[in-house]
């Protein structure tokens, strides 16, 4: 399976903006609960194919979407 990763945001508002943007770019994605090993936050994060990380972080920054951090997910 393709290696996946997640992008964390300061609030759900930015996660939803990010979702809208990746959707428009046709990149496969899913909003999922933030994995416990990454943060104790009760919010959501955006899961994307890890190879798309640079591209996604690039256009999110351009659109003014505030990002906390990004992490590869352990392969299942």
């Amino acid at each position: 399976m393709m290696p996946m990763g997640v992008i964390l945001f300061p609030s759900v508002h930015f996660a939803l903006r990010a979702e809208k943007l990746v959707k428009a770019k046709g990149i496969s994605h899913k909003l999922i609960p933030v994995p416990r090993h990454l943060s104790s936050d009760c919010g959501v994060c955006l899961r994307i194919p890890w190879e798309k990380r640079e591209e996604v972080l690039g256009f999110l920054a351009q659109a003014g979407v505030k990002v906390d951090s990004s992490h590869p997910l352990p392969e299942r």
Partner: protein, 388 residues
Amino acid sequence: MEKKIIYFDNAATSYPKPEEVAQAMVHFSREIGASPGRSGHRLAIEAGRVVFEAREKISQLFGVKDSSRVVFGLNATEGINQGLQGLLRPGDHVITSSMEHNSVMRPLRAMEKEGLEVTVLPCTTEGLLDPLDVRKASRKNTKMVVLNHASNVVGTLQPLAEIGKVCRRQGVLFFVDAAQSAGAVPIDMEREMIDLLAFTGHKALFGPQGTGGLILGERVDEKDLVPMKRGGTGSRSEMEEQPDFLPDLCESGTPNTVGLAGLLAGLDFVLKEGVERIQEHERGLTDRLLRGLLETPGVAVYGLRDARKQLATVSFNLQGVAPSEVGLRLDEEYGILCRVGLHCSPSSHRTLGTFPEGTVRFSMSYLNRPAEMDRALQAVGELARKEA
């Protein structure tokens, strides 16, 4: 025979709402229901999308680039209180007009007792503020000009862009109360140089009661903004301090998501119809009513009496009859529902010369029809003749 009612109290709250609004609220209650921004399951995310989309549509409507600066609350009053109490401190000077609603006047009067300096600029007897007066009233410590865009009593529209320009030049924040105008008149925060805009969801945006908020322009530094309440936001849960970013800074506790689902449908309706078209229709209704009232003997009409310079809100009195009596008879004998008295704005009525009796107010929406104006004019004409 029971006559069909005519609802002319849209300045208090719009009714009826487009059918989609109720449908969206039922859909949310049945199919989504979860708390937005809390939990990561699919329904919580779906609820989050509803709130997010409502924020995006508000931004689209008022020319806001960053929708995170739209803060939702109960109504315009909450937005106004957040903006005033969140930014003004003792020793600051604030300028306002004599046409304000109590939602601005009461917080300012309370803060005045704590050391805020307040200047209330008199308006003309039609309710207009002179932008030059704003410039003349500015002082070194002036922090903000707060102004009702459109009078809730007579519909008079203030020259926002001109006053915005004065504020920008003087380096003060321009705070607009758009409770009456949002959705009925085109507003662009950038074009009119507005720094804070308070709006309500349940009037010309056709949402349900319990929706509204505040938009913070880019010149407002959120680090200066004290939130009116603090609590759970679903973000930064590890911290015991309030998040310092918008909108979470000002949005604590579970929001009125079912209401925001309705507001989103109302916003879709307004955007689909187009604010220009809405304004044109309302101008037609207002013009029809004004012409008829001005031709009716024994009727005094207040304000600018010009459909192009006001909202679809018209105040009048019948000679020798108390407004409360007119209101009661319109309801009982003609099925016309309006609002009489002081409309939560004693200062406006002092300006118009109608204090303390007040006026009879007809306030229309995009969903009223010309035939209703004609029926109302006939009713007012009959009442005036009976009293003459």
